[in-house]
Subunit: 202 residues, 2 copies
């Protein structure tokens, strides 16, 4: 903490929101403490207790502040480019500390059921839709067959990105996103041009 003018109100809250997200990254969900967060934010524990009862509440408040995310609509025109763009937006979103916080809570659902339940509420309102937005749009336009856009297909891109994150621990590079679109999403939609092998078997 740099010694500046004394913070209060919204500015202070914002600083504490940052602090709890940083703390989460460093110590993990289970070791979040009012003490640690206060220390990191350079303030007194009493200040935290005036607003939140425990680290979980503080964390939820930090997550809630970042929502609803303004999702720039990735619908420009061409299907393939739109899909790639939507995955890039997903990665961008996931890069944000808030996204990691969500991930951390969901991963330890069993250990923190109340926290997970509260989180689900936060999310039901503003769903995360990335490739789904693009697919729905193009299905309505007729670019792709409406019947081929199932819930599973809508989840495909997100699933591959999440899996990569879990396995490797880093975000996927652009090349990987392109491969997801070319090797998986487009073929599933019926576009066989981008993958090896003809439509019917050899």
């Amino acid at each position: 903490m740099v010694a500046g003018p004394r913070r209060r109100g919204a500015a202070l809250v914002k600083a504490l929101h940052s602090a709890v997200l940083e703390e989460l990254d460093e110590v993990g969900l289970g070791r979040l403490t009012m003490d640690g967060i206060a220390r990191r934010a350079g303030t007194a524990r009493t200040t935290l207790y005036r607003r939140w009862a425990n680290p979980g509440e503080l964390l939820l408040s930090a997550i809630g502040e970042a929502y609803p995310v303004e999702e720039p609509s990735p619908v420009a025109g061409e299907l393939r480019a739109d899909l790639i763009r939507s995955l890039e937006l997903l990665v961008e979103w996931a890069r944000h500390p808030t996204a990691r916080a969500v991930q951390a809570i969901l991963a330890e659902r069993r250990a923190h059921p109340e926290l997970a339940a509260r989180l689900d509420e936060l999310f039901d309102a503003s769903g995360r839709r990335f490739t789904a937005t693009v697919l729905d749009h193009h299905a309505r336009l007729g670019t792709i067959a409406p019947g081929s856009v199932t819930p599973l297909v809508e989840n495909l891109g997100e699933a591959m990105v999440v899996k990569h994150w879990i396995d490797v621990g880093r975000e996927p590079d652009r090349e990987y996103l392109v491969q997801i679109v070319d090797q998986l999403i487009l073929p599933v939609l019926g576009d066989r041009s981008a993958v090896a092998g003809p439509c019917a078997g050899p």
Copy 2:
């Protein structure tokens, strides 16, 4: 702890392995303590310290004991049935506490980098291959075009199952696994029979 004959050696270690996995489920990775594990196992803390230096070591030891998993080869004959079976095996594996432990460590990579690194070592030797085994087998047989089995395709099934687990918090039912195969994997491999919509767009 039921008061039975005093455990020692391998039996004791096994009990402690169970205890640490149960404890992980209940309190999460960050709140694992020697104290809590010892209490749950009905033994003294000193007994734990005689073998492991901290809860992380104990947990790794518990995970290591469960490996290498004997993966029953899900290759019976027909591609579709084999794929479904391989996903069922994946779900079965993921149901085991050990799998949840792995998941917990990977989810908090940033907070526990040493633990994650040690885990990666454990895994590099015996990789988890479920649908991949089936795909490789059938590619060698010529049932499917070898060129269509890319690393992404091999990961597709696992990714969808993992994503479901994260989003819903429960394991997917059989119906969902069938949909993964019929709506995603088979279409990507070039089999258009199981999904709505013609091969070329309308």
